[in-house]
Amino acid sequence: MDIQGEEGDFSVTVKSYPRYVDMDKCIACGVCSSKCPKKVANEYNEGLDKRKAAHVQYAQAVPLKYVLDAENCIYFQKGKCRACEKFCPTGAINFEEQESQQEIKVGSVILSTGFKAFDPTPYYQYCYSSFKNVVTALEFERMLAASGPWLGHLVRPSDDTEPRKVAWIQCVGSRDLNTCDQPYCSAVCCMYAIKEATIAKEHAPNDLDTAIFFMDMRTFGKDFDRYYEHAKEEGVRFLRSRIHTITELEDKRLKIEYATEDGQAVSEEFDIVVLSHGLLIPESTRQLAEKLGVELGESGFAKTSSFAPVATNRPGLYVCGALAGPKDIPLSVMEASASACAAAGKLTAGRGTLVKEKVLPDPINVQGDPPRVGVFVCSCGINIAGVVDVAEVTEYAKSLPYVAYAENNLFSCSQDTQDKIAEVIKEQGLNRVVVAACTPRTHEPLFQETLQSAGLNKYLFDMANIRNQDSWVHSDEPEAATAKAKDLVRMAVAKASLLDPLEEVRLDVQPSAMVIGGGVAGMNAALELARQGFATHLVERDSVLGGNARSLRITATGEDVAPYLEDLVAQVEAEELITVHLGTVIQEVDGFVGNFKTTLASDAGQEVVEHGATLVCTGASELQPTEYAYGQHRMIKTHQELDAALLSGEVDPAAVGTAVFIQCVGSREPERPYCSKVCCTHSVETALHLKEANPDSQVIILYRDMRTFGERELLYREARSKGVLFVRFDVDRKPRVEVDGERITVTAHDHILDRDLVIEADLVGLAAGIVSHRDESLAQMFKVPLDDDGWFLEAHQKLRPVDFATDGVFLAGLAHYPKPLEEAVAQAQAAVARAVTVLSSKEMWLSGTVATIDQSKCVGCGVCWTVCPYQAIDQDENGLAVVNEALCKGCGTCVASCRSGAPNLRGFTNQDVMAQIEAIL
């Protein structure tokens, strides 16, 4: 592969390897695989079982097409066989397929090549390659998975028996320059080990004992500390110890010896030991980066600036995900959207030029026709079929009234089944469709699209959830589960036969945005929106822009914040498409996605602004500590105060003789059970700054867990090598700070010496936590939720980290959760990318499942418009209720609240629901 040219006009050479299977003909029937004689280690299952040379990567692969593994295929290696070709029912096998090369013209390139998991073989004392019951975390994932080699039944690899004790060893291939060359922290392993332990306990029929051996517990993300605490409550044991050796006993159990914190030697035997291996960048990626001229850091991850976290040294080439540093899925998703925004930012002139509008056939008019229902019962691999007798359910479906056709599919959601469903609809003249499968939240839109492509109105569709509501929860009662599946299908068919086609409301989209909050996140968002050609209103309640960054010295990569901030503010003020409103607050919000009308209030009066999307970047603030003698001495400072003092010169780092930092001030306590994520790194960087100015200074950091995740781990290593002392404390034995005139004395208990340390400090730095503004009034105005800690709650923690469940409103920065500056920038870019998917369309279509009021029954009592959570019902000039279809979300609350039976919910009418209830009785 090669890339020539420059941003906006690249020419990329891409080499395609042959599949030897014609993708247009392959129907993924699997016959080639079953006939193939050559067995190979299955990479998808981490080598725990075998696949054939003719295979599909996994059962739900996209594209669901088979492929011949030429390196292992007997025909390619020895010239014999060709069994697959003989048996393929569609003649899809093509041994003549060649490698091909093409030149593709693009405007930007995003590199998201991911990571490779560390191979623990170099840890020869763990005997990973010889002890069968020592497995990697990724292997354990496959062992737990329902689609894995043991179908989710947790057993010991050596003899297939159920384990009673499982141990995890953390930091295998991370934070280690001794056994390997991986000095950084892989950022995800603490969390995934806790997850695996929790899930393993759920899988095991007995009371599984799980133990995690760790150095620092790095659960720094949103809700991660809660996850950790919950695991402790569930009985997962956490033992702070680095394991040296694993010994195998005769019965293949594994012996681990470790020392407890009070110095006792303990020996324990486990059935399985899981090595929590780290993330690394493989050699192939390093070579690719070199070829493309993309700079990688020493650890192999792409070098990025804190101020441009997805940009590389080569303009037009962007990075996201693990390639830019070890990270979890939410952050990968955020960076992915951020890189989309960055890539699009320079290509606005080309937007829409190469895409085609999807044209759907006009829907057939089915009014007045008798219902002809088609039922498609999904096996979902073994997810449903493993419990429910899907063949029986399909037969049963055929006997139901109005059902004209029923069939069973292996994976109804797969592309080829969609094509088949569309064909069947046309052939059989079906005018209603029921899919008995998973939850509508997964694939309803997909099936609706299939109906549309076959010429049916997409609302003539219903789903029976025989997975989440049946096979998954009644997995040990297959007969009862099958009976229930029949009931659910009967209900769905009863409703489906009554469904009417629905129309969708079309709205114009206002191609402008409002960004609330003028800090780093807000300003970056505004600039990116402007770059993409959208007018933006930036609203800031303070009289200046900048937010929290004004009191920050440097970023995690050592870059100075102040000059960056100055430049950022200048850019915002100079940008024509951005209107800055300082000293302004939001007073009222009307409207909905695509059409917001917000009233701004400031000293100058009120102003109503119309915009299509809203970005919430309201930030957070530093906690004012109520402990550690804060406020009693001018040299006891929080991080922001200390940064400001270092920048202004009030504190001269060269003049500090002894400095003590205390971590977790206000964080990870019952009142605020979350980690503020940035403070460990901040303390280490300030400590390094002090040591550099005065190498003879005594710098001590008192911590609970050192959370210098990812490549920040190298800063921690550097600090230790420069003589910064780290002393751990427990939350129930916190350090004490006493002030006597000018003297500050810090007393901390050292767990190794088991003695108190009494330190006379010149400076005490308090790693004060980050607290949310808990802006309930703003949350209510935009109809978005806050979580227990006051952070805005996103639509989905992993897959939609910058969206809200409410359409058209997006989130970035500290208002979401404590984060370092580079993450705030990435999240701001991500929010813009998502906002642009709304703003770039000229119109939008709202769901047809909205409520309607039968005014002949309405008495104007006002209950419905009071209870409506979206304020979608108004009182008209006759005093009766009328629904604003653009705001209505189809929740049905009004229908339930009315005593006159006036409201009805389209798609879920009273008649539909009664039919379902009657079907079940």
Binding site: V106, G107, T113, E335
Partner: protein, 61 residues
């Protein structure tokens, strides 16, 4: 930002894991043609191998 007639309204995403797929979707939904290049025979990456994901314990698929 001058209108450049040579600007190609397409983007290439290299790597079809979770990050690649997300950026491809965002770009496509904003009106850009996306070439998603993946070395193996299916998209999904390492995430498709995971059983459940933290902190929500959702299934990875």
């Amino acid at each position: 930002m001058a209108a450049n007639s040579k600007v190609t309204g397409a983007v290439m995403v290299v790597g079809g894991g979770i990050a690649g797929m997300q950026s491809a979707l965002d770009l496509a939904n904003s009106g850009y043609y996306v070439y998603l290049v993946e070395r193996s025979s299916a998209i999904g990456g390492v995430m498709s191998q995971l059983d459940k994901t933290f902190p929500t314990n959702d299934c990875a698929m």
